[in-house]
């Protein structure tokens, strides 16, 4: 009855169990899987060689570690590690981006965009620049 379950920590097994679910929030899955490994280690379980069976009470405590990890992260989330996001800054950025995109579109469509000017038109502008003011050739 002391059989081993084969390689793989508790967290790795949970991730494998969820592989077919194709969950998009992999960050959270990894975070909770890591919390399970920590909980298993706290209960003296060797992460590389788990037994095939566990006492039900221990199993229940380990499963609860998922919710404990969520609760703990929520407590610490009150002071996020990353910079807090100010929605007003976001709005200003969005307006700035829209303005930049408008200007970009205008410049691309502008007849004076050098990409829109033919070789001859460019050459004429160069010649005009060489003429002193007021003596432009007609």
């Amino acid at each position: 009855m002391a059989e081993q379950a084969g390689p793989g920590s508790l967290g790795e097994r949970v991730q494998a169990e969820l592989a077919s679910a194709q969950l998009r929030d992999t960050t959270l899955v990894e975070r909770l899987a890591a919390a399970l490994d920590t909980a298993a280690a706290d209960h003296g379980l060797d992460g590389t060689s788990l037994p095939g069976h566990l006492p039900a009470d221990l199993g229940g405590s380990l499963a609860l570690a998922v919710l404990e990890a969520i609760a703990t992260s929520l407590e610490t989330e009150t002071q996020p590690v990353d910079q807090p996001v100010d929605e007003r800054v976001d709005d200003e950025r969005r307006r700035e981006l829209e303005d930049l995109r408008n200007r970009l579109a205008q410049r691309r469509d502008d007849p004076e965009n050098i990409e829109n000017l033919s070789f001859g038109a460019l050459a004429r502008r160069l010649v005009r620049r060489r003429q002193p003011a007021g003596t432009g050739a007609r």
């Binding site: 009855m1 379950a5 508790l10 097994r13 949970v14 169990e17 969820l18 679910a21 969950l23 998009r24 929030d25 960050t27 959270l28 899955v29 909770l32 899987a33 399970l36 037994p51 095939g52 069976h53 566990l54 006492p55 039900a56 009470d57 199993g59 229940g60 405590s61 380990l62 499963a63 609860l64 998922v66 919710l67 404990e68 969520i70 609760a71 992260s73 929520l74 989330e77 996020p80 990353d82 910079q83 996001v85 929605e87 976001d90 950025r93 969005r94 981006l97 930049l100 200007r103 970009l104 410049r107 004076e112 965009n113 050098i114 000017l117 070789f119 460019l122 502008r125 160069l126 620049r129």
Partner: protein, 427 residues
């Protein structure tokens, strides 16, 4: 026997009598039913919160304050406006309605149109699955966690009035004669039908409803029923151990409802256990006691004169019990079961949307926190993406040149560049 056209068929369960199968069959065959003039009320397989609101005024811990009441009113409107030959409502939660609530339900649906159908199953085949169901809603009950399954059986079967078992709903649902008489006292015996489910005949239940509704045979075949198997003995051992810690930790009912009842417990049920994984067994003494109660109920129901489809004698037959015996004292569970339960909890968290819950829901603090956390993470990601996009667009803008932006030298370089490109293209 087919019911008269215009009837509203109110199937009231109770729990553990094939309701999930029946509801899946109605929901998944809406088109075929419509072709035959039958409407299954509501949009879901089981309009649970509507039935709970109507029958008891209760709500799911995760439901918004009046979500059930609104859902019930939508169903009432749908029934009143329907022009089909029959409308069907089905929920096991109707079985718990008090006589006053039953009157209210009948008044709203139109008492003259309603025909009540009660499905019954031998008590000996209900005990284990109903206890498991209670354990999957443990934090919502005032349950004594020292009671294992045999302890709970002793309480409900031998001391039903001592509410140490914390499951008073059991006898509201499963003192079948009392439940039948309660409905008959309001509806009238002539407007009721009882179907006694015979588990030896898998199609008996759906076939009985096809006949009542005058449907073509084979109309009510569920394509898929979803996860509805009973938990294995190791699974239920693990869940009860988890519950003990969950309640002791002070986590709430709403989070349990989301993460466990409709999350990890369902995920456990979707697991395919080995054939030799032990099932929860019911001791012989409990089978005999439940069969005696079932026989009393059958006699009382027979005396009402209500139409019965199937064999009432099954209710008191101890030989129809399955899974009889003493459970293994080994308190260990397979690692894969622990992994599955934990994975189910992770899955619920990972699938929560990055947004606050709608007003129709009342999530617990864990769910709300995960949602908020995800929303903040998404906002941070979007802000970072926005900053990158602004920088890229600025760089792009700097590269788009108008002739006036260039000096003479600059213009000359552009012209030289074009000449070079032409020459190189010309070989």
């Amino acid at each position: 026997m087919s019911l008269p056209s215009g009837s509203v068929i109110l199937h009231v369960g109770p729990h553990k009598t094939g309701t999930t199968t029946l509801q899946a069959a109605f929901h998944q065959n809406r088109e075929r039913l419509a072709e035959q003039g039958v409407r299954y009320a509501g949009h879901r397989k089981h309009s649970m919160i509507a039935a709970m609101a109507a029958a008891s005024g209760h709500r799911l811990a995760t439901s918004g304050a009046d979500a059930g009441e609104r859902a019930w009113q939508e169903i009432v409107d749908e029934v009143r406006e329907s022009r089909e030959r029959h409308v069907v409502l089905s929920s096991e939660f109707y079985s718990e309605a008090s006589p006053e609530r039953i009157r209210g339900i009948l008044d709203e649906l139109g008492a003259e149109r309603v025909h009540v159908v009660i499905t019954l199953r031998p008590l000996v085949r209900i005990l284990a699955s109903q206890w498991q169901q209670f354990m999957q809603n443990r934090p919502a009950m005032n349950y004594d966690d020292d009671l294992d399954y045999p302890g709970w059986l002793d309480q409900v079967l031998n001391h039903p009035d001592d509410n140490r078992h914390g499951t008073p709903a059991f006898w509201r649902r499963h003192r079948h004669d009392a439940m039948v008489e309660k409905w008959a006292s309001v509806v009238g015996t002539e407007k009721m039908t009882i179907v006694v489910v015979d588990d030896r005949d898998k199609q008996m239940l759906t076939r009985s409803f096809e006949e009542l509704l005058g449907l073509e045979p084979g109309t009510l075949v569920p394509r898929e029923e979803g996860a509805n198997r009973s938990l294995t003995f190791p699974e239920i051992k693990l869940l009860t151990a988890f519950n003990r810690d969950y309640v002791a930790r002070g986590f709430g009912v709403a989070d349990y409802t989301k993460f466990v009842r409709f999350g990890a417990a369902r995920f456990l049920q979707e697991r395919r256990p080995d054939d030799d994984e032990p099932r929860l067994l019911t001791p012989e003494w409990a089978v005999q006691r439940a069969a005696r109660i079932g026989a009393e109920a059958a006699a009382a129901i027979a005396a009402t004169g209500i139409d019965v489809v199937g064999d009432l004698a099954l209710l008191g037959d101890p030989t129809v019990a399955s899974g009889v015996g003493e459970n293994d004292a080994d308190d260990r569970v397979p690692l894969e079961v622990v992994v599955r339960l934990a994975a189910g909890l992770v899955k619920v968290a990972a699938q929560l949307p990055a947004a606050v819950a709608p007003d129709s829901r009342s999530p617990g603090p864990l769910e709300s926190g995960v949602r908020r956390d995800k929303a903040a993470r998404r906002q941070r990601t979007e802000a970072a993406n926005l900053a990158v996009e602004v920088r890229r667009t600025r760089e792009e803008l700097d590269r788009v040149l108008l002739a006036d932006d260039l000096s003479r030298v600059g213009l000359a370089r552009v012209l030289v560049g074009r000449v070079r490109r032409r020459v190189s293209r010309g070989g």
